[in-house]
Subunit: 210 residues, 2 copies
């Protein structure tokens, strides 16, 4: 535990739900795929102006790759560095291509009535901090396995990460980070069993310690 | 010319600038790469509610591919069909991965002072119709050549389209379409000469006639 006693504890990202937290520049956010097959939609917003946020379409052009690897920096919609991948024990399979799920996604999949979804989870998570997302940015989908095939074909596959594996992200500015443990249970993006699970995160002042 | 005398004329997308037009459901928008090497950033907004707009991150998941081919439908951020590719003589190399250029892009490339950019062009084009974009959606970058290599690497290359080649898009709902003839002249996305040029578009009631 660090001096404050607040920052380096492990916190839950409840299955099917979202959570947000404030992170200071220089701190490291570690996202743990506790059960190995849970996709965690991840967003970052500038702490003092949520109209600046992590943008996949700006990040790809700066990284010159589809998905971030250790050493790569995710950028904002104003092209400023927001999060740098400093450690990844998950196999490095993530996604920047696919939108957050939403009520329309589940309607089209034939679900009747309410279904938890990452878009609403983002809004709910930020509201706890007294914030509202200016839009739903395309998320960094940690652990999500969307292979790109020949001719640019893509498919939705189960994660390849192992239970307890993690990704650590260095905050390049003061941010609000938000996570959603994706509630998708109709398509096997959260594993073949289609059962969303808890994931966890921690915020450390120093180097990742997991 | 059709009965109205208004709809099927060829209109300019001026080099480095943007333009927008209203398109009714069932009409066909044809975008012509007049000089062959001009990237045309393209957006679509629902005519009666601009908070619904064409979304690359929602479209990729529905198309199951990175870039649309003839027969593929681009979808909105509410996952409704907006535009279907009905003809493409350009070689089919387009991009859905890269953000519209903006003032920050040119600042980072070392340009001092004002530089035309696709983000401002979108806002200016919509303002002529009395509209404002609720955000800058990631555009459909017609004719833009961003090849995806092994391990998901990407690069910025010159277009492969021929002068006069075109893409025709069927409107699946009443929309406002917006174009920007990308003013990028520091990176060869608009051809090796780095000289942005005019492009053209037409709106037809029937089948494309070019």
């Amino acid at each position: 535990m660090d001096k404050s006693g607040q920052q380096d504890k492990v916190c839950v990202i409840p299955a099917r739900k979202g959570v947000a937290a404030r992170v200071r520049k220089g701190q490291i956010v570690t996202v743990i795929n506790t059960h190995g097959s849970q996709v965690v939609d991840t967003w970052a917003f500038c702490a003092n102006d949520v109209t600046e946020f992590m943008s996949m379409e700006h990040s790809r052009g700066a990284m010159l790759k589809l998905n971030p690897k250790v050493g790569d920096t995710l950028r904002s919609n104003r092209r400023r560095p927001m999060l740098t991948v400093v450690e990844d024990t998950s196999g490095g399979v993530h996604d920047t291509l696919i939108a957050a799920c939403d009520r329309y996604r589940y309607e089209q999949l034939g679900h009747a009535g309410h279904h938890d979804n990452c878009t609403d989870n983002l809004a709910a998570a930020l509201s706890v901090l007294g914030l509202a997302p200016p839009e739903t940015p395309s998320p960094l989908n940690l652990f999500m396995n969307i292979p790109v095939g020949e001719q640019g074909s893509i498919s939705f596959e189960a994660p390849v990460s192992e239970p307890g594996s993690h990704v650590s992200l260095l905050a390049e500015m003061d941010i609000v980070v938000a996570f959603s443990a994706c509630p998708q249970d109709l398509v096997p993006v959260n594993g073949a069993a289609c059962v969303p699970t808890d994931a966890h995160y921690r915020i450390d002042d120093g180097a990742p310690r997991i």
